[in-house]
């Protein structure tokens, strides 16, 4: 699974964590990393396993999630190239708090706990960078908690539709058009619910004239109306 690294240092530099290291420092770190390849659907590690080191996504996408006994999943984050995964358990010594799976074929740079630890002691600014990254992660988790505890599934769904429309929607005479990037099942996992509710709520929004649904193709007909749903009673 591990490979020669044609340009591992360059890949590392793009990660944000290491963006302001000197080339020689990068080289040093690169020497300590192992490149791993995962195919779509393969687990990087599972919740509860002891933490062995830091993972950095250099290609592909991974999903961080928890699974319930009854088989439901709750997605905590989806990370793409340049993101690090499991920065935290590396430091507190505990097991991984969640599982991580490759969504597409992915390439991961791996640094062992011990090496990364040592590296942070020598480079306090890297430690601070890690803290900043972790800060962002914590904010996202708090955001998820807020959603789970204060909003309905309908509102969460509307929120993701609005986000998608803004991110990748195209303005047309009919409204803002875009395609759902994932299956209903996957969306349900991200919102912490089940497939059926996604289906039903989409249909309900259509019935109310706010959107138009055709399989994964969505047309937002009343953006104002959608946003109104987000304000109300949340």
């Amino acid at each position: 699974m591990s490979h020669e690294s044609p340009n591992l240092a360059a890949a590392l530099q793009k990660t944000g964590l290491f963006s302001n290291l000197t080339p020689s420092e990068l080289q040093l770190l690169a020497a300590r990393t192992v490149r791993k390849l995962f195919s779509a659907g393969e687990l990087l590690f599972s919740e509860g396993e002891p933490c062995t080191g830091l993972h950095i996504v250099s290609r592909g996408k991974v999903r961080i999630f928890k699974t319930s006994m009854s088989g439901r999943e709750q997605v905590l984050a989806v990370e793409g190239p340049g993101s690090s995964v499991a920065e935290l358990p590396v430091f507190d010594g505990g097991p991984y708090p969640a599982s991580v799976v490759a969504l597409e074929d992915a390439e991961i740079a791996f640094v062992s706990r011990r090496d990364f630890h040592a590296y942070c002691m020598e480079h306090p600014d890297v430690a601070l960078k890690v803290l900043a990254v972790v800060g962002a992660r914590l904010r996202r988790l708090v955001g998820i908690i807020e959603e789970l505890s204060f909003t309905t599934i309908r509102q969460r769904l509307v929120a993701t539709l609005v986000k998608l429309a803004q991110a990748e929607g195209k303005q047309t005479p009919l409204g803002i058009e875009f395609r759902l990037p994932d299956s209903h099942q996957e969306i349900a996992n991200q919102l912490g619910t089940v497939r059926e509710l996604i289906s039903r709520n989409l249909m309900r929004l259509q019935a109310e004239g706010l959107i138009e649904v055709d399989a994964r193709h969505i047309v937002v007909k009343d953006m104002r109306g959608l946003n109104a749903l987000l304000e109300a009673s949340s």
Copy 2:
């Protein structure tokens, strides 16, 4: 609000974050901290405000929470003496992600963002300690997400009863006895729900013969039965 510090350095040492600093280092840090006093119910800061620095609880208890537009609250953590609050926004520069209020009269040691930042650059081991503390916090947040998304309120309530029974319950001929530490309203906030459901669920557990309720006095009559509820279908 700020005071002379009879022994601020000693207080700092108890915080875990700074437990392995030398006395002179502590002295240096203590020189940079400000002591603040808050009375019960007073806000340390509110969600969304820019982050000014690190807060360390040296006496009393504080509650970290989010508020919804409709007035509901979700407690993220309750911290006692020795805990730090807002370690994270200090580093990523963003605003506070949640509000913090003093539950009892409390004494807080405050270090400004800039000072703490500088201190971490000079003492990489402190930065790593911060990471470990933050790791624990992140685990708790993930735990909350897991609860919110996979369990019913009934199960969450049973879980807290079991925890309380183990922590401060007394074995008597009738069962394990203890007192609820908070009002129903506060318990509801911690579980992310409303007062009535706490009341109802307690009554229901009583009706099922698992516990005996008399105001805040609880007697667990069937611990085995309670634990069974936690296993099932979560």
